[in-house]
Symmetry: C2
Subunit: 96 residues, 2 copies
Amino acid sequence: MLLQETTSSHLADLFSALSDPTRLRIISVLLEGEMNVGDIAAQLEMTESAVSHQLRGLRYMRLVRSRKNGRQVFYSLDDDHVARLYRMGLDHVEHG
Amino acid sequence: MLLQETTSSHLADLFSALSDPTRLRIISVLLEGEMNVGDIAAQLEMTESAVSHQLRGLRYMRLVRSRKNGRQVFYSLDDDHVARLYRMGLDHVEHG
DNA sequence: TGAATACTTGAGCAACTATTCATATATTTC
DNA sequence: GAAATATATGAATAGTTGCTCAAGTATTCA
């Protein structure tokens, strides 16, 4: 059945959150457990700023959750639907 | 495990294909069966040109297949992974 | 208190995207 | 062959996105 405009827009927002290599790589490391911004940036070999900007978007979309401990901020996945979408997509890309 | 750059890029391409309201609405009508460009455009209340441009992208990504009959071109979904991703995403958006 | 650390944020910019509009191609009908 | 129909395509444009760089906020430590 034809998707309504508002629904299609929300769905597009969800997939948009997964439509960037950097965000997907962030998700891939958070699948192993929570990690702080500096370590994520180090793993990705990117600046903390770039990573922080992307985490902001993921946080806004409620795909990740943050926990502050001292001056570090630990991020973790806040949505198992996303992990399932990620894995299904990856499966398609790898053996598709 | 950290996603490699090329893999993350391919995965991002897949999700990018689903990251636009118009493309999602096209997919939503093609889930019911094949349809020609003019009818898709009419259902979406969009110009045929805009729809054709989006179909081009979906075709390029091999998410839809086209079949020409006379001067009409019928499109259908060419990937059940995509239908599954679509449904999983929609489920998240509707009762997430 | 002052310096160092961890992260966030805003502005700016280059690259990308989705639509419109005009035009082109292919097919049918007259 | 000419006109009409169905779709595709290229250029132009407005809007969006992801990064960098510089500056800002917290927090810890000396």
